[in-house]
Symmetry: C4
Subunit: 363 residues, 4 copies
């Protein structure tokens, strides 16, 4: 329970706070809006202080105070409260002081998860990234020196000093191109053209390394999660370990909120679903049939025609594992066990419900 | 029949409509063009209303009215007609009212297919994309706050409020760089440089995730389609299921319009073709030879010299499966069955036609 | 002979021609330069006319006139000569007429090879590219309509008509951002921000599809070439077909000009080389040892310490196949045959030359 | 020793030198800063001269003078000293002469390693890159010619000559978009739009080729290093060669500085570590336990619950090989040997330390 609530809760409070903060900086806004904004900001701060103190007390009681304080979440909680409260106490409430509230954005859950993933990728690809970053700075620096030599007499304000030339080089090498500093001599323009083309090359390398690393790391994490989920589905227990490994690689995890339509009767489907956590309701004429963790549905898309025979809706937030028909074919060509398992289970089901609920399988 | 026609038909009507709509907004165009444009727009609208009503009646008769109304195509048909007709009735014909005709673009078939693919990719990569989007907004927001602090005194118009600073940050982080708001202080320029470099990194991650997800999903869909096509080619029936799976992965689907030259006599070829649907004509001296679904041609490129011995032309819109020499070598190294099959079939053919049509194989 | 010469020859003539053409458009250049440029252009044109006529005569004699005229090279040859000659005859020599000489660029060999590869990629990825292009145009069009509505009153010149708004949308969606048309209302800036972020997404998809397709197609072509080269090396004849296929995938082709140092004595090496075509010279004390097609060298890097024991230089333009130590380890773990072959060959060599040329292996 | 020191040493000296050089070009800086900068530059130059002479003497004594002079490092050392010293002697100390100090940046170690990797990638992908570069120049050139024709009358200064039009085309095709030269006619804007969209396509190809090549080459190099490291870990000696190859592909190398926390007690872990070089300290209650090269730790994350039972810190700069739980599962599903090895070793350890140091395994 302590984990579920904050996701939406934090998102709401942080959004309210940030929007109020933005409104506060607009000097031509009517006084009413500015007053409301300030009050909303005080309310958000109060909530975050209460949350932080609550967590500190809870952590102190359970003897994990140090662990909490050193965790990413604990740091985010502290940063959201301490600097802003200190600034308000010292300097009073002013739009500038409230700018510190931008630290609240660090409380958003994806921020920490995304940053931890990014952290890992950067640590593992550090050498390649360092090579490209060095290449970037070498090009940047030589470009700045050369354009400084070419343009300093014509445009002393923009290119007369190396810091100015470096600013131009960053603007150009990243292909941003503001146009506030632009070479005017022929030589300067030639250098600019080469820098732009060089920018594309560096950018290509940079993109490639980050993209490759990020993709590999996400797949790795997804595999670990899938493998844990698959291990907990009793239905798969009889498969060989190597088959479970392969299956964990094929399944795709889909987290669905409550009351979401997973499959709709009459549509054409190309995948089946295993319930890793949560529950769904198969809507058939004589009333809904409930399926819980470990059950599967939609298998007729793989065994039969592909047209869904019933609508399936989640009844609570659920984690489903999707097996697509393409992967199912490839997998069962090598491991026929799973196909037999699913067919026999589907057969059993079909027999059990044959008269009353021929369509209850949701396939 | 009901499916084929609309592809070119819609493309034509939508193009005419959109071009007319654009012409209508050009205030210095001669009156004749404006009148013609308006008439063309009314004609397009009439066609779409007729099409929509026709489809509604057809769906109501076949009892699929609800399914049609809820389908992507049904929504696009309704959106193309209802809002525009309502606006014309309420406000009369004016260039502004006709702007609603831009919804017609949703009727183009690739729009819906592309959007459904994109939808799936986004759903499956939601977590990674959310991480990167959060990272994007964190950088965006801190950049805006910092440049607001650095530049608000020098340039109150552009950077005096956070919305202005955020606009600058988006412009810079996406490397668009209009140049209408540009930092002028040393600190502001340093921040700008860091934001641009950060933009490259975020962009790299974004590109990588979308590209990887899109590539995987396209390959998945292609595999399902190929697998269905291969299963329908009688020639492959004798292959083991695992070989069919592997073959479906190697084959590349090529949809060709009517009367297209597939291979040309005398050219060097590096692939053979299986006909999944449609028909082709092998042009040999004593008259053309027809080949239908399940047949193959061009196999001499894999077995012999590689020079095409006849020209082959489609006689109707056809779906061909291409097997390249590289994949053929790799595949038959592991599964020699296919090579034997093709060789024996080619031998049979060679024998049958040996005297009259030595070149009829089109290989 | 007819193939080798044109590569450098065309590059030189085309470069001279293009540079002269550029010089001709510079109106403040001294008359001498303009005269020289014009003469150089006439000379280039004369050479291309002579080449074209020569090729036509040669093709007509060998009965391949039609094949030549319809080939990519034949079209490029004709386009380089006919339009320009016609323009010069009709309108006389002027900088504008000479602009047609820009068609000469199509004679460069990589242009045709690159364009044929690109052609193939575009044909195979046509569906995905069409989806993304449609998405691009949908975003482009809606962005233009919305910004037209938001800005047309404030900036009628830039955003008053849809063509203007579309120009702005292309500039923004491709993240070019000239800054000549910039939204000024709050709503317009919000739309601009969303368009820029959408531009990143579309760009990511576009990049991903083209990059994936291009990489797959290049690998495919490289494999076919390698497979043909490997099949012609007698040394590999004794390997199993599946091993040859795998080897063709591991080897990397390296085309080297004459008199190039392949490996240098004393450097650390991590790959060995097979000669597919051409010849090399191993420089040892008692005089150089020649190696021709089918021979290998540098094998000590894989079997021994990795320090090169002799310098090896190509004596004619050669095609080498590189086998890296990593791939060698992986390959011989599964197929120990190649390692035995190389070891026994290296042993033989070592014995033969043991006294006089211990270092002749170039390893 | 001669290798370790320069990494930080060079980074410091080069940074001091470059910053001083930048300061020297700022004409409005106070004289004190300019004097200090100049002195710092002289000091840096003196250090580099001393280093170069020292290396030359050392190389001459050990008979490797030629090898040193021709190596990348030797060239960088010479370039850092000779041109700058010559300029100072000939022209005296001036900000312009000191700009030559920008060559110092080539002394940074990643510069040479990154450039050598880039060199290799460019050599191997030369054909594809040449195709795309040609395509880039073809588009660039035709764009320049067309916009020159469309705009030369309206804007003779910017588009009147081809060099100007080419500068605009580079700016646009790389999506930099300064905005200093902008088409104003309808036709010119249409060309500009097409060039921008073409720029995206070329950029996509460019990015894809460089990224693919770079990723493949880095993986190759990493594999060779890993393979050498794994071969030196006695623990792996009993594995089959094919298993060692596969393991070398799974392990990820992590170079860690001295006194770094590798794993922290109480955190959840998903990987184990092998020590390839260096040493770590497992911190348990009764005093630290030292582990050296060939040892492993953190294995409980793979065998047990995943919660780390002790903190592990490096005691010297170490090279660790990381095996993630996902890879461990996949690897041991095919090769159960490693799992037995680790379990038996973990069992032995557990038995040995059972009473005094139950937590000493650091798992």
């Amino acid at each position: 329970m302590m984990r579920r609530i904050p996701t939406y809760f934090h998102l709401t409070i942080v959004t309210v706070g940030i929007v109020s903060m933005i409104a506060l900086t607009m000097q031509d806004a009517p006084p009413l809006i500015r007053q409301t904004s300030e009050r909303a900001l005080f309310a958000c701060l109060a909530i975050f202080i209460a949350e932080w103190l609550g967590k500190l007390v809870y952590a102190a009681r359970s003897g994990t105070l140090l662990a909490y304080a050193r965790s990413v979440g604990g740091l985010a909680d502290a940063l959201a409260v301490v600097p802003l409260a200190a600034a308000l106490l010292l300097a009073g409430s002013s739009p500038t002081a409230w700018l510190i509230a931008s630290l609240w954005i660090l409380k958003l859950p994806p921020a920490s998860s995304g940053l931890s993933l990014l952290n890992r990728v950067i640590a593992l690809e550090a050498r390649s990234l360092a090579s490209v970053a060095t290449l970037f700075f070498v090009i940047l620096f030589f470009a700045a020196v050369m354009v400084h030599l070419a343009e300093r007499e014509q445009q002393p304000a923009a290119f007369g000093s190396l810091p100015g030339a470096l600013y131009w080089a960053v603007t150009t090498l990243t292909t941003t191109g503001y146009g506030d500093a632009v070479p005017q001599t022929g030589l300067g323009r030639l250098i600019a053209g080469l820098v732009m083309i060089g920018g594309l090359a560096v950018f290509g390398l940079w993109t490639g390394i980050l993209a490759t690393g990020f993709a590999a790391e996400s797949r790795r994490r997804e595999f670990i999660q899938n493998w844990q989920l698959v291990s907990n589905v009793p239905f798969f227990k009889s498969l060989a370990p190597s088959a479970i490994i392969e299956l964990a690689r094929l399944l795709r995890r889909w987290d669905m909120p409550e009351k979401t339509v997973v499959i709709r009767e009459g549509r054409v489907g190309d995948c089946m679903y295993f319930i890793a956590a949560g529950a769904v309701e198969v809507q058939v004429k004589h009333g809904p049939v409930k399926l819980g963790p470990g059950a599967f549905f939609g298998e007729m898309a793989l065994l039969g025609s592909g047209v869904r025979t019933a609508t399936v809706i989640t009844t609570e937030p659920s984690t489903l594992l999707i097996l697509e028909v393409a992967d199912f074919r490839a997998f069962t060509a090598a491991n026929p066990d799973l196909a037999h398992l699913i067919e026999s289970e589907a057969g059993k089901r079909g027999g059990k419900h044959a008269h009353a609920a021929e369509k209850a399988k949701g396939g």
